[in-house]
Structures are given as C-alpha cells and as structure tokens.
C-alpha cells in the first residue's frame, strides 16, 4: 500500500481527486482518505504533526511494515518558479541538524533537490527547498518501512520574487494539478519495487497467520513455527509442492517440513 502524508486539505485535494480517494471513517484525530491501494492522511502543518500522522496511519492501516510512504506538499525556494516539482534527495532538520538521505530509484523522472525542514515559516530563501514537515515525516516513516520506499515530493509555492496566497485553495490546486501525472508515474515506479520485494512477503505472512490462528502455542513455539512455515510457503510457491493440511497435529507437520526442507 502507498501512504501519502500531506499537511493540508488544499494540498491534498488534487491527489484525492486524481486517485479517486474516499474519506475513511476513523476514530483517529487525523483525517484519512483511501482506496484499495492508496491512503492519504492530512497531517496538519509542522514536523511533529507529520511524524504523528505517520504513526496514526500505520496503525489505522493494519500495521503493515515496508509499505510505500510519500510526503507531498508545497515548499519555498530562492529562485525556482512556482509550480516546479522536485523529489527530495536530502532532508536536513534545521533545528537538530539531523540529515536523511532517501535512496532515489533508477531513471527517476523528477528533478531532485535537497530540503531543509524549519520549525516555523522560513522567509530567508536559499538554494535548498524550505518546508515544515519532511524531517518529521522521514524520521517517523523510517520506523515502519525500508528507506528505499520513503520519499518526499515538493512543489514550489513561493520564491524571493513571488508567493501564492496560501489560503487560496484554488491557487494551490492549480499549481499542483499539472504535476499529478508525474507524481503518479513516480509512485508507480516505487510501487513496482514494493511489489517485487515485499508483496510476496505480505501473502506469505497472511498464510502463516491463518495457520497459526486459534492455536495454543508458547512464545517460542510461535516464533519457531512462523519461521518454518515461512520457509515452507516460500518453497511451496516456488516448487508448487503438495500442500499440507495444517488443521490438526501442527507440531508433527512442522517436524515433517523441517525434515523435508533440511532446516
């Protein structure tokens, strides 16, 4: 699954429309939108909100590790023109000076730039993008996913010469809208990587969970059986070997698998 973290509804609206996301009923203090493959969380402004929204999103969407996480929003820059889109390749937290380096995928279709995350609005423009969420987002997403699947995409909203009215929802919509296909294309490429490296893991986890549910096992048995079953399902998918009925005598079946797989 792909999780978008976006500070405001105005910035999120073009993505909500493009990906046809629906508002999700939730008891959380954050607002979520989703469809089968994508979720979008309105985080609120600032790095603490961004970090908290990542955690809430993780728990709201079944605590699945190694999903794709994308922070999307507007940012300032010294000279780049309003509406220009960038993929962030270095995030610096202005307050702590802590740095994050997302791993950029091959043949990336987006221009890249570094971004400094400020605790309050920065009006002293420089050659890095200025935002208020990226460092908090990355720090939190890093707890739930591998670094290669965590990215931040920014669109220029202001520079030394001009800035948009941040309360003008239509204006924000208009600068984001022309970039939606580029965003979708980048997300699709990241999602391909996720499918290649993590989708099978999800299906195997589900199979293991199904076998072990309602079984009265000790902590160590559960740990060992999970490992053996993961090997079994991986191997059975590769060799399409005969499936085992796990409804009874689980310990015996596990022994049999260990013997057959020589583990």
């Amino acid at each position: 699954m792909i999780h978008f973290i976006v500070a405001t509804t105005s910035e999120a609206r073009p993505l909500i429309d493009f990906f046809k996301l629906k508002k999700k009923n939730s008891i959380s203090n954050f607002i979520f939108f989703d469809n089968d493959e994508i979720s979008l969380t309105i985080s609120g402004i600032g790095k603490i909100n961004a970090a908290m929204s990542v955690t809430h999103t993780y728990y709201e969407f079944n605590k699945i590790k190694n999903n794709v996480w994308v922070n999307f929003g507007i940012a300032g820059h010294m000279s780049h023109s309003i509406g220009k889109i960038f993929l962030i390749n270095k995030i610096v937290d202005k307050e702590t000076n802590y740095k994050y380096f997302p791993h950029i995928i091959k043949n990336c279709n987006l221009a890249q730039k570094s971004c400094i995350t400020y605790s309050e609005q920065n009006l002293f423009y420089n050659d890095d993008l200025s935002d208020m969420e990226a460092s908090g987002f990355f720090m939190a997403a890093d707890k739930y996913s591998t670094k290669e699947l965590i990215h931040s995409i920014k669109i220029i909203s202001d520079n030394e010469k001009e800035k948009i009215d941040f309360s003008d929802k239509k204006k924000i919509y208009d600068i984001i809208k022309p970039n939606e296909k580029m965003i979708a294309s980048y997300i699709e490429n990241i999602n391909k990587i996720w499918k290649k490296f993590y989708f099978y893991k999800k299906t195997i986890d589900e199979k293991v969970k199904k076998v072990l549910q309602n079984k009265n096992l000790s902590f160590y048995q559960k740990k060992e059986f999970t490992k053996v079953l993961e090997y079994y399902f991986l191997n059975s998918e590769k060799n399409s070997s005969k499936t085992i009925d796990f409804s009874d005598n689980l310990a015996e079946k596990i022994k049999l698998i260990k013997r057959n797989l020589k583990i």
Binding site: F101, H103, L149
Partner: protein
C-alpha cells in the same frame, strides 16, 4: 558507468582526486554529506533494492587502513594483511558476504590513497627483512571499477618500489587494461576467482563468464604477470564433480601451472550474523543458503576428488586451503 546520485563528503569535495573521479563518470546529481556513514551505515536499508541502482559515495577513510588477515589465510606468506580502498562490489554474487556485512549496497570509495601508502610503509619499516603480503579485494573487486577509481594505477607504482611487500589483487573482472599498459611487477599477484560456467550462471550474477576470465588470466600470464587462481568458494558436490573435473582440465589447457603463483580452495563460509541477514533479504534463496551453510564441504568425497584432480596439474606446495 552511470550513477543516479553521487554522495561526496564536504571535506573532500575540493580534492584533486575527487574531481578526477567525477570527470570519469556520468551522474545526475551530486549530494554533499558530512560523513559517508550518514548514507552507508543507517539500519533499515534494503541491500537488494539498492543493488538495482547503487549510488557512488566518495569519502575519506580515518583509521583501520590495514588489517591483519585471519590466522589461517595465506598464499604462502607468513605475514598477511588486507585493506579496502572501496566497499561493495559491482557484481551480484548470491553467496557474497558483503550483503550480510553492510547495510547499504552503494559503492563507497575512499579517495585518500596516500594514507593507505603511509600505513603500509609503517608496517614495512617495522618489519624490514620480512616478506609481507597485502591483500586487496576483500570488501570489493579490486579491478572492476579501475576505470573510475584508478586504484591500481596508483598502487602498482607504490608496490613496485617496495620489494619486500607483495600485493594480491583479487578479482573476477576482465578489465585488465591497467596491467596491459604496465610492465609486469614481480611483487604483484593477480588472482582470479574461478568457477565452472554452470556455477557462475547459478551464483555469480553480473560477472564475466568463465571463458572470459580464463582468457584474461592466460593473457596476463603470457605477459609475464604473476597470477593465482582462487577456487573460493567452490560448490563441488556428488552431482557436479564431473563438471568440476572438466573445468580444471580446461583451465590447465591454457594456464601454465609451473609459473602459477598459487592456488587457493575455500568452501562457502559465512558468520552466522551475516547469514541470518542474507536469509532475510534473499528469502527466495534461503533454503539453498541454509543447505550450503550446513554442508561441511571439506568432509565430502567430492571435495577430496577435486583436490586430487587439481594436484594432477599443480604442485601440492602451491595449493592452500582457506
């Protein structure tokens, strides 16, 4: 070679060496960092994903330049050290321990070669009458990125002037231009890791074929360079012992065993902590790895048969088991 991003430590961005490396490669972006560890060391990175498009990191090494090899590791010298001007490899061998040792698959090149020279000289000065072997190619392939790093260009000149220091260049690369343009140096040993083509196809992804490696080895030997052969790791078994027999025969159709410096044999071996990490990131191959890990090849008949076959070509005093 084309890189998406190059990471450069702030401290070395103005160095001539850094600029020279940059002039030899294609890249999209340069990203500056304080220390390479900010990119290379963090946990929670997926080595396999990064291996699709590794980036290049240029950095300065501090400390631990030259390390002692494990006690039994030798190609005939009593005193053995190893060093790594680079971490990670362009190839993608399934069995490679680097994927268990490092969190990142990015190529990390240390540009301060002069500090390596200084430490090697220091060891030589302390041991004036001893023959000391320095191994390169533990944590990378010594030759594969030569066009970018100019590593051997610098180190060959250095070793040529130090007669009691021996350099072993261990490689699978057929990029041997640097040796072709230099005269053979008596204290440099170029060692090729070899396996039958069937094993290369199975385990050694993105590496040159057996035929190409053998051709390079043959050429280097005919040019007068000292060469060695490394069967490390070998995957000989009851099922493929004939493949390994033909493989050995093919090698010595081209390679003169009399002028061969040394041959080493090693089984697949890996510390448990590395293996556990690889089992997680190479889940599809996990059962195979467990089987190899528990194999105890040296006790198998096929291993003895391989050694016996090898001894029909190479004197036993040149064969070392690691």
């Amino acid at each position: 070679m084309k890189f998406e991003n190059i990471y450069i430590e702030d401290e070395i961005k103005s160095l001539k060496k850094t600029k020279s490396i940059l002039s030899r490669i294609k890249y999209k972006n340069i990203i500056f960092c304080d220390k390479y560890t900010e990119i290379f060391n963090p946990k929670n990175q997926n080595f396999r994903i990064q291996k699709i498009n590794p980036n290049l990191i240029l950095a300065k090494k501090y400390g631990k330049f030259i390390l002692k090899t494990p006690p039994k590791f030798s190609i005939g010298f009593k005193y053995n050290y190893y060093f790594s001007h680079m971490l990670n490899c362009v190839y993608d061998c399934k069995y490679c321990f680097l994927q268990g040792m490092f969190n990142s698959a990015n190529f990390l090149v240390f540009v301060n070669y002069e500090d390596f020279f200084e430490r090697i000289d220091c060891i030589l000065t302390k041991n004036p009458n001893k023959k000391i072997c320095f191994f390169s190619g533990y944590d990378c392939d010594s030759l594969a990125l030569e066009k970018i790093t100019n590593f051997l260009n610098s180190f060959l000149t250095f070793f040529e002037q130090r007669k009691n220091a021996f350099l072993e260049v261990r490689t699978k690369s057929t990029n041997i231009e640097v040796f072709k343009k230099n005269k053979p140096i008596n204290n440099v040993i170029i060692s090729y890791s070899l396996n039958p083509e069937e094993i290369i196809q199975k385990y050694e992804q993105k590496t040159p074929t057996f035929a190409k490696r053998l051709e390079s080895l043959h050429l280097l030997q005919s040019l007068g360079w000292k060469v060695g052969i490394r069967f490390d790791p070998i995957f000989v078994s009851h099922d493929n012992v004939n493949i390994y027999n033909r493989f050995v025969e093919n090698i010595f159709l081209k390679i003169n065993p009399n002028t061969l410096h040394s041959v080493t044999i090693g089984e697949f071996r890996m510390p448990n902590s590395f293996l556990n990490k690889i089992l997680k990131i190479r889940t599809n191959d996990s059962l195979e790895f467990l089987e190899l890990h528990n194999n105890k090849l040296k006790k198998k008949e096929s291993y003895s048969l391989f050694k016996k076959k090898l001894r029909t070509f190479v004197s036993a005093r040149k064969i070392y088991e690691n």
